[in-house]
Symmetry: D3
Subunit: 320 residues, 6 copies
């Protein structure tokens, strides 16, 4: 049966508990049986301007229900393809426990969640929270082989340490670059002034980073941008929602004008998914209190669901 | 163990999937084992001014997490009492399925949910949705013995039929009054002009209704207002959030100035819970798109949780 | 026929062009045939903090549709009385023309509108705009005999002149007090610091003003407050929405905590309407951009419609 | 006289009753004398996610006043042309009566309004409401000869029937395609997952539909996209505001990222207006509660006024 | 000269840089010469639900400009008294430096600011930030003699330690009670469930706390509530804005229905200021992102300015 | 030392008093020692639709703190250049005094401020306020030699006089064109209907104006558009925020769809700054009450800071 309309429920988007994509909720992290496991990481003490990303997981989950019309799979007429059919098992495992005032404990709990997902052989999808939650995510890949990171972001986030801070939302790419299992980083969408000073850019490049602005990627095309990732690399995608233009992603702490439009990121991710194995995803910095129309959370859900569709379609193509 | 802090999670309010009170989610209505079952009824096609109550269940659920600090039970220092200890089993059973453009099918699905709860011996708590969802709720009590209805509302909702409409949010109390198992209705908080015309008031009184305005109740005191309910009656509470003053409940479709303040309703409900068996509850007309600060949803959650606390505390006192 | 449901339209509040109370629109000011004529005065260049009252007339008109359910008249069960039956003819005459950057021309246009209403023998109801629009309103009563002004407001608005400004929203009561046909002013609700300095208070009292704060009126009761108006006086009511508590009237330029609650103003106006002939009304300072829930505009519409009901009910009682 | 400034009113946009373009209001549908008649269709019970389009007509009317500066006609310096001069008679005929909980009656009232406009020989412009209001609009063309529909939309809206629903906002294009007088449909802007499943796409193509995505139209250019409409066809335009990118049209129920930008739609409509007779227009799904900045309603008004300008300019060119 | 209108600037509230009350800005903490020094403490990593209090200092400063009309002093007609004349020197010393992810450093910087103010002999007024900023404030009084704390709050904030957290916004009163120089705490306004469990209440009472709910204080009157503070005590006031009713203070992280109304707190503070020496003030938990109308920030500014007026008026009366 | 992190403060964007870019505040206009002086002009009585630009200066100042991370200068990795190093002295001189109801006095005060800046040899940067504040700005250049004006705007603003109004926000370019020292105006971005009628366009061209729409500039490229400015001209830039697309600049009074995207304006300004001496800047019509996400104010701050960077970088290149 290809969908459940004749029997059962109509299940309109506004009806039902808000798990990611209305997929099953599995609070027992020792019993994960899934291809994809979605974890919320509602931590935002790492922000340097506006907070509120702690409500990102709830907002993205609720927005994701808009894409749940009860169909089995999502038909895309442009690709003439049905994505995320019933063969792709997605579960929502709830949120990592957060301890206010305590960054290290909160990060440790996030890391534990990602490790549980990896242990179960599922693809981790982490919804932040601020970009510092990428730090425990990357930590969890310690024993997972080498990975290349594709960062989509307005800001380089490559501050080493300042006033003792090493685990804020300006530091994750620096922390990642230090890891032996991170073989390189593609920093895409970087633009404008931010917390990273000139020294950070120089350090990023010295540590193997490939920094491209929106205009640079626009000039070369997303196909060429995708082709710059090292061939054969297993790719972890970290997507800061402020990589997008504030016109479609206003609901974030540090919006930066001049960002990516929707199809630029979509096509870049599709291209990368076709060329590479995607081994992990985080999407961060959705701050719903600044997202009055809900459009930012819808964008996040739309991108995540499409990206998952691309990943599993490509797996199918590759016969995985 | 009185709470779970030493072991396990801190579980701050902003963390985790938004079920009612973060209580367990039980989508299988044939397997309900609980003292209280919470059902969402996201139907709002019955509204005559602003819609949006379809998102009421989600908003009240999310707001209810504010009252979930991981304690076992809620200590109230004024009453020197811990309410809703671990002995009171509350489950969230999700939403009734809603069929757009079809009032009768949607109502039937709500009725089916309430019947399932009653069958399981649990106390039904229905979160609307507009006030028309009270109609299928009352229908479900067909075989439950006689009930008296306590309506807290700005509007009488006693229109019989107009342009063929009999199941909109202006009709529920008329529909209820027609039921053989409804022995009477206390209409409390009624004020100002609304969809019910003079004839409706006369009909309500003729059918045994006791209509009191906010000022009338304020003048007599909530204790006396509570004492007007027939002694020994089994009481169903229908709480339209617009019974409250718009200062604390702006997030609703048809706000009406001059409504109840918080303690007036709280103390009335506490008094009624102490004097009567409460056999069902619905709370309707929370429209989150008009609730920019979240205060209306918080009010709804706060009142529901307190009312449940009163109900089970009184049961304990009565040795039930 | 007491209403139009059987034949014709259901006419729900959200349906139809937004004139005041959905009453007829009469743009030809030489052909007014009505008991009440409603004029918009969308002028706000006189504000000293937040502007936006220029959209007050539109907002109050739209909110007034909430009270239009197609009934003939508004039944109030507390008074057991139907107000504003079909015998009370209300027309909406649109807005006075406003000339940006030019206070005097704009005020002159408002004055022309009020004079047209008075010429037609109708009761003027002017919806501001900022409180400076009261100045041309009072000017229009030059040949209408003596009037007493009842001001409901947080601020005294009694500045004489400062930096040359004599016609801003801090000046109207001073301008009024200077008129020979204004025999006195009851300044009710005045509280907190504002643009009027100590000298203004002394001048107001010297010119015959009776200044009472919210707490003073609360202590004496609205009945006594109403009784302080000179017996037999023909009363003009100027109602600054910030006289109300910001909890129910946030949508205004200079909110001031500690204001009147709903029934306090309602009962004061009912008492005054019963004791005195009301010869004119303005309601000012509704600024919809700060009224996110719409509650302030609803309050304004609700108060105006009730006041009109009281006025014409009292006229009926007096056999006018 | 080319405008009314020297005599009469300045008539700034924020002044006056909000009819469409501040044009005359004609509530008597038997006395329409106009080239264009604007009808509000405030029906939104057909929505599957966020409601609120019932307030679309009011919002678009109010926004349309921004384009009313008292000029006779709108000068466009790019086209060096004055559109909508005093020779084009536009009237606002108010709203169709809506009956809550009753889709069929509400639709019938909308159909009656469109039939009245057609009977008067005027061009119908219907402002929704959700997209289901297109169903009664198309019904009204039963005796008007053959028409081709140009749909601008994110969603295909081609669901046949599901859980008995045939007249919701996911069904209109299917209902239209069934009509003998509808010779074909150009579905432009369709993208992403929605309520229409794969079967719907196949059915639409089988019934003569031409489905193009935003990217496909962008690739071919709007000129070529316009040229795909059958030559000589009389065209009915149905414009779902969610055809636009959420960056400029956030105020809608089911926003979909990746939509049209302003000039794409403007130029497509100009091209179509130049090539074809436009026999009817509806613009739907503006939901002002999600349009916090007012930009969506402004967009709707701006597009409608421009389209009307193009239509009557082309008529003039064709010597009609 | 009593004010500056004839010469100089009109200085309307919306004009000028937003320091507190538009008072002078003194960034050099070694050169403070003032009676009152206002310090911002924009720290909110201690929150357990909604963050955003980091923008509290900016919001309260901006709101405070509403009370700056260029007068010399604020005339209160109810008290017939001019408060805060030019003899009371108030300076704004800017914000304590905050280090994201680092609670202890941030708190240390706040403590340094308060110590600088105390060293200069000025009255510290600290604007939070979440309630945890009270911890460094109280620390700074180590060498200032004994103090009694008057807490106005919805929540007891008396958690000792949980998951290692000792310096979050649920802990400050416990931390204060541990200090030798804190002789007692009056916890006023406490109500409803919160992060403090039953054990916390018992501990608070055991450590000398006097816990009163809003209803208890309302029943006894504010005069009696004030009289419960130990005679002769030097009082530090910590005012959590959520002590107020959400109807007037929605802009906060954890609103709690049933709170204080405006005059209740105002009169309590006036009474305490008349009876006691006030040695320090903090006002916390204003979160402007939830304060869409600005009313909460206006309330905070209004209370602070009134309290300062009371303090210095009482000092004058006492001949200090 | 290139920045202040090791010693001193971290100075996160949300910390500290909101002067422009957190630069020093200099209220004494006779003691300006700076390269750039920023003046607020909070005047909005000249608006013809939505007011609120009076809060523009405060909003832009607050937004500008987002770009203040404590670095010495802003490193741009695309240009590989550090802009606005410590050698560029920027001061904030506060706001011009505004007199409500009095356009001429308010304008005179703005003119006085610009004259003070010019006298001090600094570059004036004026933040409006509505576009009429450009009138006193241009007046102040009376004795500064010839200037060419680059206007970036949706509207031509070339109304001569209407109903006596000559100094509203529809008039500034006409007023400028009349000045002997204004040698020409480049009107860029002009589109759609507005307050300027056909006659205004003809007059503008007759008085030497070069009118280009967004599409025209897009077609020729910003480089060619920049090249149309007269070689060697000293350029004054007046930037109406509604020149931008409402998708990124919703927070303004009269949004107009189809505007410039971010890089179009940025690159145009960079090109002009490289080719010409920039002698003055105003940025107007930011109305924060319509800017719910803060994105418009952030855009304004981002453009101003970048433009200043370009100006002083070009000065350095030219050896000025």
């Amino acid at each position: 049966m290809s969908h459940g309309y004749e029997s059962g429920r109509l299940n309109l988007p506004f009806v039902g508990i808000s798990t990611f994509g209305k997929r099953p909720y599995q609070p027992d992290w020792d019993r994960l049986e899934a291809d994809v496991a979605v974890l919320g990481a509602p931590f935002d003490f790492g922000t340097q301007f506006r907070a509120g990303a702690r409500f990102g997981p709830r907002a993205v989950r609720e927005a994701s229900t808009l894409f749940s019309f009860g169909h089995a799979g999502a038909y895309d007429h442009e690709d003439d393809c049905t994505y995320l059919g019933s063969d792709v098992r997605i579960v929502d495992i709830g949120d990592a426990d957060i301890v206010h005032t305590d960054t290290m404990k909160s990060h440790a709990n996030i890391e534990a969640g990602v490790r549980a997902i990896l242990r179960a052989g599922a693809l981790p999808v982490v919804i932040g929270g601020d970009h510092s939650v990428n730090i425990p995510c990357i930590n969890a890949y310690e024993d997972q082989g080498e990975i290349h990171i594709l960062q989509i972001d307005a800001h380089l986030d490559f501050v080493d340490e300042r006033h003792g801070v090493r685990y804020g939302h300006g530091n994750p790419m620096r922390r990642a670059a230090e890891k032996p299992w991170v073989t390189g980083i593609s920093h895409y969408g970087i633009r404008n002034v931010s917390s990273t000073a000139r020294e950070g850019y120089e350090a990023a490049r010295a540590m193997g980073g490939d920094i491209l602005s929106v205009r640079q990627i626009r000039a070369m095309g997303v196909r060429e941008a995708a082709a710059r990732l090292p061939e054969g690399a297993r790719v972890y995608v970290t997507l800061d929602i402020d990589g997008f233009c504030p016109s479609i992603a206003p609901g974030t702490g540090t919006p930066s004008h001049g960002g990516f439009l929707y199809y630029e990121v979509l096509e870049l991710l599709q291209e990368v998914a076709n060329r590479h194995e995607i081994v992990g995803i985080d999407l961060v910095e959705v701050a719903p209190d600044y997202d009055h129309t809900g459009g930012t959370a819808i964008l996040a859900a739309q991108v995540l669901l499409n990206l998952l569709g691309f990943v599993f379609h490509a797996r199918g193509q590759r016969g995985v």
